[in-house]
Amino acid sequence: MADERLIQTSKLRKLMMRPELGAIAGTVLVFMLFLAIARDSGMFSPEGIQNWTVVSAQFAIIAVGAGLLMIAGEFDLSIGSMIGFSGIVIAILSVQMGWPVWMAIIAAFLLSVMIGAFTGYLVIKTGLPSFIVSLGFLYILRGLTIWLSILTTQKTIIGGVKQVAEGDWLAFLFGGKIFTGLFQWFGDMGWISTFVRGARKGQPVVEGIPMLVVWALVLIIFGHWLLTKTKFGNWIYASGGDAQAARYVGVPVNRVKILMFMFTAFCATVLATAQVMEFGSAAADRGLLKEFEAIISVVIGGALLTGGYGSVIGAALGALIFGVVQQGLFFAGVESSLFRVFLGTILIVAVIMNTYVRRMITGER
């Protein structure tokens, strides 16, 4: 009874229906390109690799949240503002109010996840597009961030976090580095470069794996596992694919969507905390445009803007492409403003490709 005209599906066509295929091809292309034009620039030395890995990891952390939310059928444009907000909250609570850093971090997480839940609740209750509701929060959170910062310190940058975070266990989880012993050994063996002068003489230039990268990997694995291996993942697809059909068979669509808004806020706060710990300061303008960068990563990763289809691995590869190209152009000595030209172009190409794949899957003409 199966339609014999459908049996002739080629392996290639089937492969093309995987959401992350475009991102895999893009990743290979980007690496080939930069191996060709920037091989001798230091881009692929340990320091160079650390440079673009960290940048990619920053994109990946928010792309995982934005990706799952987009697959569930919603957008969050307040990701960038949330990064600024959470950072300032941590700095005010720890530096200005004297809270232990771990307590400030936990408070910032609770606050941001609650705001995420409220955003989701408003979207569900009003039935408005999440695009509009979260655009509102983009301004509300950014405004609050600047106001709170000025109110407490007369400045928009709050420093001194490094001093108060010294020895804090939770601060290490965001700003620390692991495998430092291993990298020291690499340095001692002469496999990676070490400082030859100054106070850090003999120490490797790349000290270890930053926790930011560990967070990115953990979130990617968790997101991928949640989406593809669990019952809840099926609900994410269903909520974004057709909320009404999903509700009809008993999927708790509202709960799924609100939880994904909360998870997106969580991811934004992970990045915010890691940045505050790395720089030792919080700035009210941090995270600017990050929501768009996250969405672009997700779209390059093959997700549909309309929801119901996409991949966490794809979004992570999108983030990798993003990071490698941004830093690679710098290594290659290309005028950095051209990066935006590239970004706009690849975004449009990715959306066209995704739309084509969608047509193939749904059989629309």
Partner: protein, 259 residues
């Protein structure tokens, strides 16, 4: 013949000043296919939505398995064993057949402290159930979007049957299909009926109804124009009734007073 599993007696439904249903009686027995015919606007949708718990009747009684029953939500009627397959709302095209089949009722297996979706079991049962409907899938992971309209209906029907539906309401399952796909869906309906499930088949196509129906009820302007047994009514008569009911008198004489 067995007694009705679902009985709707003198159902009326008003939406403000609009009378959508003005006293409709209808019943369906296990193992039969009862066709509900009617032109557009006759009240078919309102009636099945009352049956599936979406609307509450303004007056009238519903009894299920001999007991009076009140459905406050679609969930209530689903839990009782009444499954509705809507024409468009059945499947999510971007998701695989397996994911669609189990949506909302996913099987899980334990993996240490974690609970994972049991794809092995889900895929196996999906393939088996689809085979029972006469559809051999290339692979359960293929997207529902790659299936034809008839096959999508079959997945939805197989899903309802597997999850224990006793009454299956099919809302215009053939109206958007080509000739061959329609034949496939009708064959599926026949298979399901033979397994003892009661089927309510909503259609405005008399030929489709005649092909599988055991009894036929025609709705017109919110009223039932009569129930006819198979073999006691001609397609022309059904057509006329849908059009206006001029032939009602003739039918009454030929249906042993079941009107």
């Amino acid at each position: 013949m067995s007694s009705p599993i679902l009985e709707m007696h003198d159902i009326a439904k008003h939406f403000g000043p609009v009378i959508a249903l003005a006293g409709v009686s209808f019943d369906v027995r296990p193992g039969e296919c009862h066709c509900l015919l009617g032109d557009n606007g006759a009240g078919k949708s309102t009636f099945i939505k009352t049956m599936s718990g979406v609307h509450k009747p303004t007056s009238g009684t519903i009894s299920f398995e001999g007991k009076p029953m009140q459905f406050d939500s679609p969930r209530d009627s689903m839990n009782a064993g009444i499954a509705t397959v809507y024409q468009d709302l059945a499947m999510i095209p971007l998701m695989s057949v397996t994911r669609n089949f189990w949506m909302g009722r996913e099987p899980e297996r334990r993996f240490g402290p974690l609970r994972l979706l049991d794809f092995e079991k889900a895929n196996k049962i999906t393939m088996e159930e689809m085979k029972k409907m006469g559809i051999s899938l290339r692979e359960p992971e293929q997207a529902v979007g790659t299936l034809s309209g008839g096959e999508r209906q079959a997945v939805a029907i197989a899903r309802a049957v597997y999850f224990g539906a006793k009454v299956l309401i099919l809302d215009e399952p053939t109206s958007a299909l080509g000739v061959r796909q329609t034949a496939n869906v009708l064959a599926t309906i026949d298979k399901v009926r033979k397994s003892g499930i009661a089927i309510v088949f909503i259609t405005h196509n008399v030929r489709h109804a005649m092909a599988v129906g055991d009894r036929f009820t025609v709705l017109n302007r919110g009223k039932t124009l009569g129930t006819a047994m198979k073999g006691k009514v001609t397609p022309e008569e059904l057509q006329d009734m849908m059009a206006g009911g001029q032939e009602l008198a003739i039918l009454e004489g030929s249906t042993d007073g079941t009107v």
